[in-house]
């Protein structure tokens, strides 16, 4: 009800704006997220309003390996839907088998994250972030540096894109940096995940949606003996959050004491701020779908959830002078650890992992997909 009324209002506003500006109306085909009533909508950048056409174009680009230097790496090469858009590897692997420095983060609910990076506090939009895998050279991810003119010309020749760019961007109907990054941003903003067993239990009133073990685990997760929820808090289970209609942009970066000296390959936020207090600080990841996103931590250095809990039980693996004060260590029985893991597993949203709206749109023998590396 609320959602229908809202999209009607949005379309009225949009059609008023767009007819005045001379846009084709179909370009702004109203987009609304299939969100439950309890979940507020995300904020969207002013220069990239959502539309169904743009999301669909972004999906094609996301799975298109022709965006890379040699036609082998797509966004999907490190962000696999079946793993909640992570890749199962310790660190991401880019063009020519180049190993990155960081674990590929999940893209579920990224629309709500004010910072789209493990450590760079300035990476505040998905549109800007897209430039890093495309053109970054340390490490090489998609290896497109200096080749954008050729890549965009190749895309323009594809009959799908000839029509899809015109529909999504009537005023600027070509593959180019602006349109490609906007479409990729819009697709990523469509990746919503709020249909886990825990959601059905907590918000949907289905009291039998959680096992008894997961229910016990929930109580432990929110207990101050474990202190899990001080950083993994709120609806995304992270202290990073922004939403439509709220003045707050909340970001949370913490040092979890993984290393006494963080390696220069991934030193944390200090890499961007040069502040000694930022050594070893990384963005708190959301715990939604955490059970399918192993391995863990910013560098994938812990293979499973049991290992992560052992790290926090110890109060930090090696310890660090910047270690967050909430990581105090705890003792837990084997049964309690099993209950906590059952709770974490209840945060998996199977619909996200199989939703055809987010799946690879390209036929098997299409050039977009033919040479594409899979995680």
């Amino acid at each position: 009800m609320r959602s229908a009324a809202r999209s009607a209002a949005v379309s009225v506003i949009l059609s008023g704006l767009l007819s005045g500006a001379g846009f084709a109306l179909d370009a702004a085909e109203a987009y609304d997220w299939p969100l439950p009533d309890w979940m507020p909508r995300p904020s969207v950048p002013e220069d990239n309003p959502m539309s169904a056409a743009k999301v669909e174009l972004g999906r094609h680009l996301f799975y298109d390996a022709r965006l890379s230097g040699d036609g082998t790496v797509a966004c999907a090469s490190c962000h696999d839907q079946g793993r909640a858009f992570t890749d199962g590897r310790q660190v991401a692997v880019g063009i020519h088998g180049t190993h990155g420095k960081l674990n590929a983060p999940s893209l579920a609910n990224v629309a709500y994250l004010p910072v789209n990076s493990w450590a760079n506090p300035h990476m505040t939009s998905l549109e800007f972030q897209a430039l890093v895998p495309l053109f970054g050279e340390a490490p090489d991810e998609m290896g497109a540096t200096g080749q954008e003119a050729r890549i965009f010309a190749t895309l323009a020749e594809d009959p799908y894109y000839a029509q899809a760019f015109a529909q999504a961007f009537p005023q600027q109907p070509r593959p180019e940096l602006f349109t490609v990054t906007r479409a990729l941003g819009a697709f990523q903003r469509s990746l919503m995940s709020f249909d886990s067993a825990y959601d059905r239990f907590k918000y949907g009133g289905e009291l039998d949606a959680l096992s008894d073990a997961a229910k016990r685990g929930e109580q432990l997760f929110f207990d101050h003996r474990f202190e899990c929820y001080h950083c993994h808090q709120g609806v995304l289970f992270t202290d990073n959050f922004k939403r439509e209609g709220s003045p707050w942009v909340e970001t949370g970066f913490h040092n979890t004491g993984l290393y006494a000296d963080y390696p220069v390959s991934a030193p944390g936020r200090i890499e961007f701020t040069a502040e000694p207090g930022d050594a070893g600080l990384f963005r708190t990841p959301s715990l939604r779908n955490v059970a399918v996103t192993a391995p863990y931590m910013h560098d994938g250095s812990i293979p499973d959830l049991r290992g992560v809990l052992a790290h926090y039980a110890k109060g930090g693996r090696e310890g660090h002078s910047n270690q967050d004060g909430m990581i105090v260590g705890f003792t837990a029985t084997e049964a309690e650890i099993a209950d906590l893991i059952a709770f974490l597993e209840s945060l998996t949203d199977k619909r996200l992992l199989t939703n055809p709206d987010h799946a690879d749109p390209w036929p098997k023998d299409h050039p977009a997909r033919l040479k594409r590396a899979q995680p």
Binding site: W38, E218, F222, H224, G234, S246, W248, G252, G325, I327
Partner: protein, 279 residues
């Protein structure tokens, strides 16, 4: 929408309403150890061992604001709706998200703004905290300023009424990483940690603060945790308890602290609150 409606209603009402309202603005300042709070500052001689600390957070909720007349009667202040004020609850926010407060938010709020019935007032009263009816809802759908994850515990516990986080500059590698003052309700009975309690918490821990001699036009209410933690060691923490004092009954680190917030704690009687003073 709501504002437009109020304006329209106001235009319809006769100007001869029985009581006119007057604007009320109450200014606050944050300090640690008598020095203005800033996210890039270091404050010396804090706590029982005279620690040097940096402040990493400094926020609190205020509600039930009233002006006190010379004869002692209290007139409620209607807080103006804004990002920082909703339905009688205000967030005072002295961290700007910079330097040591990087996990905070950029906007600041150092003032309560509202209206009260016209009168001659000589004092002010308010609670530090969120009223029970608003304290245990779903923060995902709560209106601002009740939608901040860093001010939230869980539905059973409600909000952190006060969040003042201090980190010693010379903390021991093996010792606690900081001393955090988190005030909130405890012993709230409910089915689970993410269920709202049906009845008020046994220890609401709302701080009732009042000042009989306060002139909003000339004076400021100064919030300083230093007197509150004067007998607490910023460099130590009782093992297996939350770092600093987070209001929990199992935490001996709260023994000397809660009484100085004007609150009883276990069998320790409430003293005078020492967190806020008039200047």
């Amino acid at each position: 929408m709501k504002l437009a409606l109020q304006a329209a209603l106001a235009a319809l009402l006769p100007a001869t309403a029985a009581f006119a309202d007057q604007d009320v603005k109450i200014n606050f300042a944050a300090e640690i150890g008598g020095h203005p709070f800033a996210c890039d500052a270091t404050f010396t001689d804090i706590g029982s061992t005279g620690a040097a600390v940096r402040g990493t957070d400094f926020r609190l909720y205020v509600s039930d604001v009233a002006m006190i007349a010379a004869d002692g009667t209290r007139n409620p202040v209607t807080l103006t709706e804004s990002a920082f004020q909703h339905d009688g609850v205000a967030l005072l926010d002295f961290e700007d998200g910079s330097a040591a407060c990087a996990n905070g938010t950029a906007p600041l709020n150092t003032q309560l703004a509202g209206t009260a019935a016209e009168g001659s007032y000589t004092g002010v009263a308010f609670n530090v905290g969120v009223p029970f009816e608003m304290n245990h809802g779903d923060p995902t759908t709560a209106p601002t300023p009740l939608n901040l994850t860093s001010m939230f515990w869980n539905w059973r516990g409600g909000y952190k009424f006060v969040r003042i986080d201090m980190v010693p500059t010379d903390k021991a590698a093996s010792g606690p990483k900081g001393w955090f003052l988190h005030l909130g309700s405890t012993m709230c009975k409910s089915g689970g940690k993410t269920d709202a309690p049906a009845a008020p918490c046994k220890n609401p821990n709302l701080m009732a603060v009042s000042f009989d001699g306060f002139d909003p036009a000339k004076q400021t209410l100064v919030i300083d945790p230093a007197p509150v933690v004067a007998e607490a060691d910023m460099r130590s923490n009782t093992p297996q308890t939350s770092p600093g004092c987070m209001s929990f009954l199992n935490d001996p680190d709260c023994d000397t602290v809660m009484t100085k917030l004007g609150l009883p704690f276990k069998d320790i009687a409430a003293g005078e609150q020492q967190l806020i003073a008039v200047r």
